[in-house]
Each structure stands twice: as C-alpha cells, then as structure tokens.
Symmetry: C2
Subunit: 220 residues, 2 copies
DNA sequence: TGCTAACTTGTACAATCGTCCAAAATAAGG
DNA sequence: CCTTATTTTGGACGATTGTACAAGTTAGCA
C-alpha cells in the first residue's frame, strides 16, 4: 500500500535541471512501455533503453518497479481530475446541470487529452484503461480515480433524487468502461464496422449512448 | 499467427484417460492463473505448481506458452459462441427479434456461465476481459469472438436498416465493454455505490442500459 | 571557490524466466 | 504378452528479471 505516496526523506538541495529532465524522460518511457505492454511486460531495462539511460538511473529516480508504476499512473491523475472537476464547476455556473453536461465534463477532458494532448497523454489514456482492467491495481485505481468519480456520481444523484445510488453507480461504471473502450478498442469498432469519420463526434456519440443508458437503468 | 490452430501431427494411438485428465488439470490451472495475473504475470512454473505436475508436462501438453494461452482462450470460445448463436436462433423462432432480445442472447450465456458455471467459467469470463483489453491479443480476440459479434451486429442492423453500420458497431462495442465491466469491475460498482442485491437483475439492468444507449446513438 | 549532497555510471548478484532433453514409466494396439 | 508410441519425470540450459552497490561525476549552496 501507499506506493503512490512514498515517505519523501528530507532533501537538502534542489534537484538540478538536468536531473529533472532525466527523470521526466524516464517517466515518459515508463508511461509508454507500461501502457503498451503492461506492468509485467515492460522491464526496467526496456524502460532504461527507451529513456537512453543506464538501468540504475531508473531505480534511482523511480524507486522500485511498483513505485515507479504507481508514480507514473498518479502523475497525470491529479491533472485529469482537476480538469474534470473544473469543467463541472464551470458548467454549473452556466445553469442547472443535466446528465449530458455531467458526462461531457467527465469524458471530455480525458478524450481531448487522449486525442490532442500528444503521444504521452495518448499513452496515459491507454494506461488508465490497463490500470482499470487489471485486478492487481484496484487499490491504485481507486486511490487515483474514485474520489472524482464519486463526485460525479453525487452530481448525477442530485439530478435523480429517488434513484438508487447503486443503479447510478452501475450506470456510471458502464459508462466509464465505454469511454475506455473508445480509446483502447477503437480498432474493434473499425474491425466490426466501417472506419470512423472524425474524432469530435466520438464524444457526442458516447455521451448520447451513456445518457440514454443511465436514464433507462434508472427508470427501469 | 494461427497459434490457436497448430498443425496437429498424426497421432498413432489414442490418448490415455489419465493424460486427458492431466491435460485438463493443466489447462484449468493455466486458465485460472492467466485470468488472475495476465499472460506475463503467470509463469509456466506457477501453472505447473497449481496443476501439481512437473514443468515439462505443461510444455508437453500445451506447447509454447503462447500456444497454451491461445488454446485456453479458444477452448471455451466455441462453446460460448454456440450458446449465443443458439439462443439467438431459438429466440428468432418465437417471433420477430427486438434489440432487447438480441442483447439478451449475447449477454445471457456469458453472464450465466460466469455466475453459475463454476470457478473455471468464472475465471474464463475474466480471461475474456483480459484478452479483449490487451492490444497484444487483438488477433486472438478477433479470431475467437468477432465472427459471432459480427452476426449479432448484422441482426441489429436488420432492425435498423437506415442506421450506419459503424454507429451500430460502436454501440455494440460499448455494450460489450459494459458487459465485461460487470464481470471484471463488479468491485468498482460496490466501491462507488452500495452492495448489489441479486445477480439475476444484473442482466436486465445491463440490457436496459445498452438498448437505450444503442437506440440513442442511432437516433442521434 | 570549496564542500558535499545529489546524480550518474557500470557492473554484479541471486532469482526466475521459457524451453529443451534424455531416461524412466505407462498404457494402447497387435 | 510384447512391442512401441506416448506420457511422465527431473534436471539442465542460457537468457532475462528486479535490485543493490561502489566508484566517479556533476552541480547546488555557503
């Protein structure tokens, strides 16, 4: 436990600029390889080679392999959570929230970063899918994503006061799985149908799907 | 490729009863461990230990690790596909198909086997989620599941002749991801909401969610 | 500028990995 | 029962794994 928040021993000097760059390169390499091959499939030496540093540096900057993994997962989790929370708060200013608006605020930042945030965010988006799917990382996934998810479920519950919370939670989990499928299984849609047109319509289609699904589950 | 259907060299004698039992024990062990820890997380020695046989026997009965994995995934895939196809055919006899009926025929056999088919089917259900999520096994997943999925998408397309096939495919992929999430992320629903009541209502709730979602995506 | 914490390097370690193989034990087919 | 294909055993192989460590280099801070 607590792998994501290790006891930082007191540091007596500021890290050098070069070491920060090195650390970032290592974390980026780990992010890409963990997302591509999973925790066990990516070796410390693979990461070191991708980052173009000796093996020892990976341990030095990332700690143990598990700690490195947790750090990489947690690094962008907060930024993602803030983007989602801010989007929801901003939307609430404009007027009463709808289910469509709530889901757009949850899906939007994730999909936008995955599609236009550069290769690292694209890798991270896939990494989130991996962490969410593998039972081994339940605790880590819960630590990184459940608080924000809980807030969004609360927002939905406010809209439907007499709906059971477990129904809303189930619908939200289904919706998140669909969101992840859009990023991790886009190939499957293309294999089973025709090639998709533009990326912008993905969000609208996904939101339509989930809004109708959640409302149907509530009114069942 | 073709890892699932290796060239069987001519066998001059029938396999003994004991060897069949051993092979089944090895495959069951591989199924459980692959589902629990993934391909890289489960070692051949772990599998041998779980099956209570020497390491060499795993190679003897399963071939290479990749071949063993493909065999284990493919073993129950045909039975599952047949159950789905038969359910759809039987339902078609009773009267005109609806989207609800089609999805029930696709989700039902999987969820029923996962919940009441014993520990091996439960493990297999999780294994299906793993194979579907990991990009490394796209070809295997496509080989095992896409033909049947294609037939169900065809059935849905018949119901909505003027809907784009990629819209239906996307909705179906979202639906399948939700189905898998029900098995692999049941913990998450419980963590974010209250404990679920009975298992039978899962199917109805899931179907309601996906039917409404697909129809909304089509009519968008 | 000098001191020293921090960073970097390369190597070494024990453990485990997938695969292979020769010999012994087993059991099917004549 | 005898022959022999098959199954089973236990160990060995080289490669790779995560981690640790001592020595050398860099750079922050006084």
């Amino acid at each position: 436990m607590n792998a994501a928040i290790p006891q930082e021993k007191q540091r007596q000097r500021a890290p050098s600029k070069r070491s920060l760059e090195t650390r970032a390169r290592i974390w980026d390499a780990a992010e890409s390889l963990f997302a591509e091959r999973g925790f066990d499939g990516a070796s410390m030496r693979d990461i070191a080679k991708t980052a173009d540093v000796p093996v020892g540096l990976v341990t030095h900057h990332g700690g143990s392999k598990e700690a490195l993994f947790a750090s990489v997962v947690g690094r962008r989790a907060e930024e993602l959570s803030e983007a989602r929370t801010n989007a929801l708060a901003a939307r609430a200013e404009l007027g009463p929230l709808t289910l469509t608006a709530i889901l757009e605020c949850f899906f939007g930042p994730y999909l936008e970063k995955a599609e236009t945030g550069g290769p690292q965010w694209r890798a991270y988006a896939r990494l989130v899918g991996y962490v969410s799917a593998d039972a081994r990382w339940h605790a880590l996934a819960a630590e990184c994503f459940d608080p924000t998810a809980g807030r969004f479920i609360d927002a939905i519950s406010t809209l439907y006061p007499h709906a059971h919370r477990q129904t809303i939670s189930a619908g939200f989990v289904y919706s998140v799985s669909a969101m992840l499928a859009l990023v991790t299984s886009g190939w499957r849609v293309q294999a089973l149908g025709d090639p998709r047109v533009d990326a912008a319509s993905h969000l609208d289609e996904l939101v339509s799907f989930c809004v109708a699904g959640i409302e149907a589950a509530i009114n069942r």
